[in-house]
């Protein structure tokens, strides 16, 4: 685990955000250091996806700041985020249903122009998720849920990110496949990728990650190493069903 760097790769300071007259996030702070897997857990409607949308600049901030690689994202448009090395695998996968697997992956590299690099990354994604290689010309919408999730992760990887954010990758997927996907995530970290993982499946997420934050109705109520969180009584009662 590399925790040496002084400034975190991603730093969120006191962000407030919402929709219309409703405030959903009431001042959240968290950070992700280079090489870490950080997991953000919380129940339905806690504001996990909203937090990721704030980082991706899809939802505007009402207060606070998001900094990535030392720079503020305050005046950055949503489509410019990926070019900075920050990519999101959105909740519900959101693959392009009428595009082939290959086209979906190529869309992931939309922000890049280095042909050779794109081709070699394509091979890496195929190596990570072998099933995708045998389905290159199948339409994304006809893949199974688990396959779509792998495609969504592969698509995000095609942007060659520094930080990968995943919003509930285990949702609606068979446990066996979840294990496979999480193993892939682990493998990615050894290649130097930093990961922010949003999950409702707290046990799996905390087993995978280094540190975790617990979000409840728009506030961070707990944070710490995963080992500490796993043995925390409140976490056990609320999220681990013990």
């Amino acid at each position: 685990m590399t925790t040496s760097s002084t400034t975190p790769l991603l730093e969120i300071r006191g962000i407030t955000a919402g929709y219309g007259s409703i405030e959903v996030l009431h001042g959240i702070s968290l950070e992700v250091r280079e090489g870490e897997i950080v997991s953000l857990i919380g129940g339905n409607g806690a504001g996990k996806s909203t937090t990721l949308h704030c980082i991706s600049c899809l939802v505007g901030l009402r207060a606070g700041e998001v900094r990535f690689a030392g720079e503020s994202l305050a005046n950055v448009a949503a489509h410019e985020i990926v070019g900075r090395g920050l990519v999101q695998v959105p909740e519900g996968r959101k693959i392009f249903p009428r595009m082939t697997v290959l086209e979906n992956l190529r869309m992931g590299a939309y922000s890049r122009n280095d042909r050779a690099g794109i081709e070699s990354d394509l091979e890496e994604v195929y190596a990570l998720f072998e099933i995708l290689k045998s389905r290159t010309s199948q339409l994304g919408g006809t893949l199974s849920g688990g396959e779509q999730q792998m495609l969504a992760i592969g698509r995000a990887l095609m942007s060659r990110p520094k930080l990968l954010m995943m919003d509930e990758p285990s949702m609606g997927i068979a446990p066996l496949l979840v294990t496979k996907i999480f193993e892939a995530v682990k493998a990615l970290r050894t290649r130097g990728l930093t990961i922010l993982l949003v999950e409702q499946n707290a046990r799996a997420a905390l087993k995978l990650a280094d540190r975790g934050y617990v979000l409840e109705t728009g506030r961070i109520v707990l944070e710490g190493t995963c080992a500490a969180l796993l043995s925390d009584q409140r976490v056990q009662a609320a999220y681990l069903g013990e």
Partner: protein, 328 residues
């Protein structure tokens, strides 16, 4: 009833339907592309098409005034260069106007309700119709139809009207028909390849399929929308020249009929689908031609819309539309 089985009449109407259908298809593409991306029925699209034909008419008049073409030879010889230039210039003109419409009228309402956007589109349609009315009132004596602003204006034939099948043949096929295919088919192929293989084309499809994901992957959605309006406008402008040349008349009101046909075609084929718009356009052109001949022109609108209703009952998403919403 020999009329019903007269193969010459049948072939002639087929040809007529095919030619008009290709033009309708070109306009329908503009509706379907915009709808596919921002779910807006761009009511002004038909009127934009009308504006293109007025520009074409004005340019033909200018060419006559400059002595570039001889009014006496219209329909006798073919002015390929003029036709080509008009398709290009009117296409670019309509593409530019459509871009401006999006920027001024629709873009500020992007986050507003669909109803507000629709009302804006209807408003733009009114504005353009009145620009057409004003344009028609300009002194353009070269053309028939008199000086009255609202009067339909004659549009001269830019290519030879001679029957390519020979003087004796009952079925008439002229360069006017062939020109339509020579322009629309390459345009449709180019559009298909563009959308399939270019980066911008990919971004357009991605935006239509999932706008959030497209943004996350780095697509500047506003740029994609602008490009969609420009391309749709270009196709409408090209169609306007073909239409004016083929039907020999333009009027400030023609955008409504053409727009109605094209929109119906887009819905019939499955709104959002490019091949659907092409197929729908051809179908509407054919059905109109057949109905005009065998049912009666006064029934044609009834026939067309009955067909639409019937198809939508059995295939609510149109002929080539998506079956259902995708599983998410």
């Amino acid at each position: 009833m020999p009329d019903w089985i007269d193969s010459d009449v049948l072939i002639q109407q087929l040809l007529l339907g095919l030619s008009n259908g290709m033009i309708i298809a070109l306009i329908a593409l503009g509706y379907t592309m915009v709808y596919g991306i921002i779910e807006l029925i761009n009511f002004a699209h038909g009127d934009l098409f009308m504006l293109g034909s007025f520009l074409a008419l004005t340019l033909v008049g200018a060419a006559m005034n400059c002595g570039l073409i001889d009014p006496a030879l219209m329909g006798e010889t073919s002015h390929w260069w003029l036709l080509g230039t008009l398709v290009l210039v009117c296409g670019i003109f309509c593409g530019g106007v459509n871009l401006a419409i999006d920027h001024l009228a629709y873009k500020p309402l992007r986050r507003a309700s669909k109803l507000s956007q629709l009302v804006a589109a209807i408003g733009v349609s009114f504005i353009i119709v009145n620009i057409g009315l004003f344009w028609g009132g300009l002194p353009m004596e070269v053309f028939g139809g008199g000086g009255a602003a609202a009067a339909p204006k004659d549009f001269p034939s830019l290519v030879s009207d001679a029957n390519l099948l020979g003087e004796e043949s009952f079925v008439v096929l002229t360069w006017n028909d062939i020109v339509i295919f020579a322009v629309t088919i390459p345009l449709m192929i180019a559009l298909t390849l563009f959308v399939k293989f270019t980066k911008l084309g990919m971004a357009m499809r991605a935006t239509a399929q999932n706008v959030t994901a497209a943004r996350l992957m780095g697509v500047d959605v506003n740029k994609v929308i602008a490009a969609t309006f420009a391309i749709g406008g270009f196709l409408g402008g090209a169609a306007s020249v073909l239409y004016a040349n083929y039907n020999s008349t333009v009027s400030f009101q023609m955008g409504f009929r053409a727009g109605m046909d094209a929109f119906t075609a887009a819905v019939l084929g499955g709104i959002g689908s490019l091949p659907g718009a092409m197929l729908g356009g051809l179908l509407i052109g054919m059905v109109r031609a057949m109905s005009d001949q065998f049912v009666g022109t006064e029934w044609t609108n009834v026939v067309v819309f009955s067909l639409l209703v019937l198809i939508l009952i059995f295939r609510p998403t149109g002929l080539l539309g998506l079956k259902q919403r995708e599983k998410v």
